[in-house]
Symmetry: C2
Subunit: 194 residues, 2 copies
DNA sequence: TCCTTATTTCGATACTCATCGAATCAATTA
DNA sequence: TAATTGATTCGATGAGTATCGAAATAAGGA
């Protein structure tokens, strides 16, 4: 089971921000650098607790510690925090995360449920979204760019289910096949979702 | 004890983002709208679990559901997510959060530890940051804009501690008093931190 | 009308983590 | 050098929540 990389920058970043007291610490450090003891006094928390929070903020590169005599003086990290959040939430970044996933998993599951071992359809799914998955699968048996007469279409679909009329109509309805002057041809890229 | 509003927009927002599977859901919805079952199939989670996550994302106004036949089709919320993150993390917003806090708490604690009930100093704190708190407190007994001769300075400081020479020197060192031609005057705003 | 199916809600369980106090470490002052 | 002090680490505890399965709900299809 793939569990993602052990450390995920975006996850660390947002987990660091997902706590009231850590947000307060950032607020205080946005006013001025402070020592651990000062922060603990203001927030009414124990120094050990504040040290823990500052540790997580440091890991996420949101704050930095500087040793001053025997104090640890924390300050906001120089890089603009807002910019970083924006980068991590850009649609490009979100889509990249999805790309690492197994997008075809659902489609495969549906096909597994509705196809026999010989590839024939058990039934035509009544549910719209599952039916669409099956129809996209059937479309892969038509070559792009080639024209088919209605008899040929039926012969191909018959290998999957006797009700070729319904399958043919639905495939046109889903925009997988187009028809003109008694001829059909496949359109779009129809394979398993990818 | 003030505990902040029961629902804090920033907190809800970042808590919603602080989970791997929720980030994945956002990634998938950034590609295209999906039904709960599809998302569950892709992520290898139960529909009930995905429904739970989508609920939290909806509360944070990151996604929206649309009823389509008997599916719930979820999609990214229209408002730009990045912009919202940027607004919530702007330094102004962070400082506003700090402003709601009791900034003087630490200073009061230090003063409580080093002042007797009659206001005199028990000792001069040896630790730099605590000594600074006490010196800022003493500075409030000097009027801004007025000039003091050294004798007057000593008379005031003597009400707090016999070692007036040390106090006077440290106050100059901290930039609380300035001295020229045998005269002293208070500079900066020195009251309790606020 | 009855049955199927997708979604949500609810209860239980396991895991994460915020918080504290005690112990340890590092650095300064007496 | 010994004693003080701020910070960090460690172990324990309690609160929050991610996850699942089962039950309840809603919406279509036979």
């Amino acid at each position: 089971m793939k569990a993602g990389p052990p450390d995920d920058e975006a996850l660390r970043f947002f987990q660091a921000l997902a706590d009231v007291n850590r947000l307060r610490l950032l607020g205080l450090l946005a006013l001025a650098p402070h020592s651990v003891e000062e922060l603990a006094g203001i927030l009414h928390l124990r120094p050990s607790t504040v040290s823990h929070h500052l540790g997580r903020l440091t890991e996420a590169e949101l704050v930095e510690a500087r040793a001053e005599s025997y104090y640890s003086v924390y300050a906001l990290a120089p890089g603009a925090i807002e910019t970083r959040a924006r980068r991590l939430l850009a649609r490009r970044a979100l889509r990249a995360r999805a790309a690492a996933l197994d997008l075809g998993a659902y489609d495969r599951k549906v096909l597994h449920d509705f196809l026999r071992s010989d590839g024939r359809l058990k039934t035509i799914p009544a549910q719209r979204r599952k039916r669409a998955v099956v129809l996209r699968h059937l479309a892969t048996f038509f070559r792009l760019g080639r024209r088919y007469r209605e008899g040929e279409v039926n012969r191909i679909l018959k290998r999957f289910h006797p009700d070729t009329a319904t399958l043919r109509r639905e495939m046109v309805g889903e925009g997988l096949l187009q028809r003109q002057a008694g001829q059909y041809w496949r359109v779009g890229n129809a394979g398993a979702t990818n």
